[in-house]
Chain length 413, copies 2
């Protein structure tokens, strides 16, 4: 099939999903899980081909690891589909509604987008995850995975389609988009056939999709997250929050990347903080003012305050006051998650009002900014754009709305 | 100022608006209204220059009329700003919130986008309207008007800026973007400086912005609106709704463009409908099956079912059943407003569930799909896209949200 044929088939397939109730969608998710389990051997065999090809091509070990499936990871994919079946269905929720003076009743109701395109990188487990999220939210999925995972993705999608077919649902509701780079361009140009595109991956992929797509994009972004320790901060809490945000899982977008310390509290806070960070294996990249507190501080280059390290590294500066902290964050923030530790109500209020980010935290670790922690269940990503969805995305963010207007013959005067 | 300087000034200006409470924004709107009234003479003088230039250039009378301001229209602009002051402020509304098991409190709160770009065509009254809507929703406005209205727009914006300055607010919160076509390209490329772009105008303008913009766009679209008269329809109600939707204001996007009649009811309905439409001055463009009912029916070319006439013209066909009506609508709909007249619950339910449009109506005129009729007050347009806003847009749709997370030292386990 050409891409255009695939997209049209997805549009047709999406019509079968729009009117499914929750029970039917949950049954489909369990059938997809069963089919994936039944196909375990062929999926692992296909994955072995991808892994061997990646090794032959000299791919780095970390990348090969991300590409690799094993029985544990495959069972994780199966469990993920069953977990989705246990989540509430946002489709059909009435967002708001009213009755006009003339008796016309209006309801704004959640509906699926229709066809969702997802462009992602090497991990083949995303294939099952993204297909499941789209199905639960009533959307057909066009999955554009990495060519390095092609055999794995083909085997996974075939299994998922078998599960759909067992229940008489169209196989075309979940499709893998194959083909060369020009196919990605076609996907990004398919306005009218594809309703939404979601890139899941690194900054390069996301930027390419946002800048090149004519289809509306939901951007899941990078996180250069800051922690500002205010002059009134509880220093024990500040140390605990700093360590948790930096070290609990350094490779994720809600991890801490820059520490800003109010000058009034730096002499009390920084010596303790630097020791604690050192003991946790964190390298601090500081300005000269910070380096004065410890020989272990590595000099920070100016552009390091732009860095999303995603590692046990932390940029650090001392700022004169809250205004200087706000100015620093305004300059370097990627609008993901920004934290203040303070006991001053006015500082907390100014920080939450003035910082322009998806999430603003007071006296809590930025690691809480996460769909799982927010109780959304499904893990779709964290949006750093301002349209449609901002912050952790759940199934609700995978829907649009429609107005249903009920009358008994009313006309406009 | 270059465009980049303007955009940066708008971003700075937007910071002053983010923390304004409703009273301050309403005072600013009244000051803008007062300043516009005070500048009436210079605005009308400037407009006379634009009108004279348009006449000299041989511009069509209808276009010259849209460009022309007079004291009545200017007072309408002033009244529009005061009306905005009377509307509720969406900023600060808590959309949802909860407390996690560990005591962390989460609120999703409405916030302004920041900087909104609006690209529009000749009417200079849009300048005041768009500036007021942006201000009330806490957004700085970059207004890209038509070069044919340049003098008018400069005079209007200068007056509005005077009003802001009277209250000590930054003039840069409302700016006119001048310069040639390359400036429009810069505006569409200003990702990171401009948060949202809204085109207001014809299909050509909207398509150019949607396809060319790297800044997220809210698309206000065209309406090829259908009315399906089901076999169980109350025919008196169907006639009334049809006439109202077609003739009450034919030039707008929620006006009726295509009538589809169930074959079972065509012999009863069409003779009456064609007479009523003829008496209302409507030209019916029909298939041969429709033309068999009246010599006044003009043969419809195949592509006429794609037309958004915006005039006293109506395409018409007879369809075998509800499925055929749904298939026709699926093929030709622009996803704006689609109507069924029926007394059959199952037909109504299928129509509302299966038709993919911003608004789906049962037994009511599509003219109700309108921000004013929905009680939203402000008139920003009707979105036919599925991301962020779908259907009539009010001030609420001019906002994003932010998560505010409050703790007392919690860290993630």
């Amino acid at each position: 099939m050409t891409f255009a044929e695939q997209a049209r088939a997805a549009k047709d397939g999406s019509r079968a999903l729009v009117t499914l109730d929750r029970a039917a969608k949950d049954a489909a998710l369990h059938a997809m899980a069963d089919a994936l389990l039944a196909a375990a051997e062929s999926v692992l065999d296909a994955n072995a081909l991808d892994v061997a090809a990646a090794r032959d091509a000299g791919t780095a070990d970390a990348m090969v690891d991300r590409l690799t499936l094993n029985p544990t990871r495959l069972h994780g994919m199966v469990a993920g589909l069953r977990d989705l079946a246990a989540l509430p269905d946002p489709v059909g929720d009435v967002v708001r509604g009213w009755t006009n003076a003339n008796g016309v009743r209006v309801r704004q109701v959640r509906v699926p987008f229709g066809v969702v395109g997802i462009i992602y990188e090497a991990r083949p487990n995303v294939t099952a995850d993204a297909a499941g999220i789209c199905l639960k939210s009533g959307n057909a999925a066009l999955l554009r995975g990495s060519s390095s995972a092609l055999n794995s993705n083909l085997a996974v999608v075939e299994a998922l389609q078998d599960g759909l077919a067992w229940l008489g649902l169209p196989r075309e509701a979940v499709q893998l988009v194959t083909g060369g780079r020009e196919t990605t361009a076609e996907l990004m140009a398919a306005r009218g056939l594809v309703d939404v595109l979601i890139p899941r991956g690194g900054a390069g992929l996301i930027n390419a999709v946002v800048e090149g797509s004519k289809v509306p994009v939901i951007e899941t972004g990078t996180g250069n997250c800051h922690l500002f320790v205010d002059s009134s901060a509880d220093l024990d809490a500040a140390i605990a929050i700093m360590l948790n945000a930096k070290t609990q899982r350094p490779s994720v977008c809600n991890a801490l990347e820059t520490l800003l310390v109010h000058a009034d509290v730096a002499p009390d806070f920084l010596p303790r903080a630097l020791v604690a960070l050192g003991e946790a294996g964190v390298t601090v990249h500081g300005t000269p003012a910070v380096a004065a507190y410890s020989p272990a501080v590595v000099p920070a280059a100016e552009d390091e305050f732009d860095a999303e390290y995603l590692s046990l590294d932390l940029a650090c500066d001392i700022v004169e006051d809250l205004d200087a902290a706000l100015a620093h964050i305004r300059r370097y923030s990627t609008g993901h998650s920004e934290t203040i530790v303070t006991n001053d109500r006015r500082s907390a209020d100014r920080f939450t009002a003035e910082v322009d980010a998806a999430a603003v935290l007071v006296n809590a670790s930025s690691r809480f900014v996460d769909g799982g922690e927010f109780g959304f269940g499904a893990e779709i990503g964290i949006s750093t754009q301002k349209l449609h969805a901002r912050g952790p995305m759940g199934l609700q963010e995978m829907t649009s709305t429609k107005y249903i207007v009920d009358g008994d013959g009313q006309t406009r005067a």
